[in-house]
Amino acid sequence: MKKMNTLSGRRDFLKATSSGLIAGMLPVSLVRLVGADEHGTDFTFAYISDSHIQHIKDSKFVRNWDQGLIRAVAETNLLEPKPDFVVFGGDLAQLGTKPELDHGAEILAGLNYKMHAVLGEHDYYLDLGEYWSELYGKHYYSWDHKGVHFITLNSILTYDEWTYDRWESPERRMNEMAGLDNPNGSPFMVGKKQLKWLKKDLSKVAKDTPVVVFSHSPLQKIYKGWNFWTEEADDVQAMLKPFDKVNVIYGHVHQIQYNQIDNIAFTSVMSTAWPWPYPESYAQAESHLPIMTVPMNRADPFNERDATGWQFMNMHTGRVDLEFNLYNNTNRTVSFNEEKGHPEDTMFDDPANRIPAQQHF
């Protein structure tokens, strides 16, 4: 296995090619060594997620969330070489309304690439994904690209009783699901029907084909109170277990997480709207941030884009390396370490490289 993230690799590559590659804009991890991948599955894609476009009234939307998505789209369009496609990881809207989804879709339409969409709970619980489907189609689906099998799941369903029978209005249902630490909430689920579909879909895939699964919620159980959780995570993992190389990419958590369970590498993506947990923010004008039960001082409250961002992904030898493009922060790379057999932050896993947390008094 050749190392992908070395500068010497980058130089060798640049020497080896006379094409008009633009070195400066390339995250180092993107540059692949010639012949590094015997299966020909090396390519790149970008990932934008959790934009939470929020309607105020009339033609007014929350400026901060708009800017986050606008910036991610503009920057993604500058990538060289061009990514093969872009994935939007869910929660395009805040309260699932048509104006929010339309406004978000209009911004995403500025992307110069083919886009695949993942459904988030904020897009879903007002009309159960009806309008979202008009814009982006099926709630779960799969496709193949350059030897990799991609699956997009709808992982934000829940019990039928909660969804269909409990609330007096769709608005109430949406608001209850949007709440944090909400005793009225309900855990995210994939559901029996989709699990059956997944089993059938995977049955057609060779075990040595790299599999990449996109879901909005983590397909692992992290914290139920904030729905960093999917109820049938164990079932999904069991279905993915027979494959040699599986990558699960999820949004929802608005922070960087990575984990390895058996052969499955899990990595989260950032939000373009706000980090989670987020700090008490700017009191001069209404912030529109959802009410937070656990205040956090990690991000810079002055800079609205601090601790938000988007991802650039390098698919090579069947694994996904994530380059986190973080505004106002040092960019980070979470890359699969073949020797250790799990994803790692190429810089900050080493305790010596960590930046001590700020103390506020």
Binding site: G20, I22, G24, M25, R63, E304
Partner: protein, 381 residues
Amino acid sequence: MKNVLVILGGLAMASAAMAGSPLGLPDVPIPEDNPQTAEKIALGARLFNDVRFSSTGEVSCASCHVAASAFTDSPLQVSEGIEKLTGTRNAPTVVNAAFNKTQFWDGRSPSLEDQALHPFLNPVEMGLPSHDPILGIVRDDESYARAFKSVFGVKAEAISMDEVTKAIAAFERTEIAGNSPFDRWYFGGEKDAISEQAVRGFAVFLGNGRCVSCHTIEQDFALFTDHQFHNVGIGINDIQEKVPELARTFQIAKNQGMDVDVAVLSDADTSHLGRFAVDDQLSSMGAFKTSTLRNIAVTAPYMHDGSLMTLREVVDHYNNGGVSKEGDPINPFLGGGIRPLDLTEQEIDDLVTFMETLTSPRFEPVDNDLVTSASPMGDLQ
């Protein structure tokens, strides 16, 4: 009693250590390999003012960094080099540049010594084909040769740009200015040094104006810059549609060895790419260095391209959330600290009044009204 004496002794030592810098400024950082000497500074001043170091023999460093204009070329929007050729950027002041962590609006130079190398060669500044003509002059000119020998111990034929730029930088490190009315009020405890309106303006500066987050002040000094680069919606606002193509063309050319210094000063659109042109980071698109606010009232116009004529226009731009004209589209790469401020007219006036208290005594403009009325020719001029 003994304790009191110890404390007093400590205070005396502290103030002695501070004696080198004017009120409101820290000690000037001096590089280990370029210590200050009176002779070196004098040599640097002479080099700084020598017009022979340009292709036309008419332009010196001092042409764009005019001592009487607080070492800028105010009121020019962008600087004029040889044959009245214009660049793309508003001349940053030399005053207090000694404290900058990087030089130029986009920070493309790491030190005063390095910075001094570039304008000589830039085709729109001093236009020399190489540094050789400069070395020819200082080697042949006997008084220069003597000075270099005395300051650096080099023989005439061995003088290099290393010594030339060290001398210029040493001179520039003496051009520091603090002790403004604000400094006397804030650091010196002089209650009446600034007006009540300026005091209110300072509150806006710290609070609703959100200024201090980038134009920082410390407990015992204030440089009014965080030394960082921010997209504040100047320049790039006007070229939003062109950014993808500009960025791409620029990166290809840079990869093929194009001189960044020349590129950013010869094309206005390219200039607006800002820090991105230097560090290639997407998050640096359209970002420029936070400039100091010291002596800002006497160095109009403002921003990297000199596009805003008054301090009032600058505050309006920030008040609008990064656009000069309210309602104009903001650029996609706008820094996350920039947002509409909803300042009142009164707050804006107060803020401008505060900025006018940052002028050091030597740069206070002569009161033209008084001069005019004292002159018998005043009415006829």
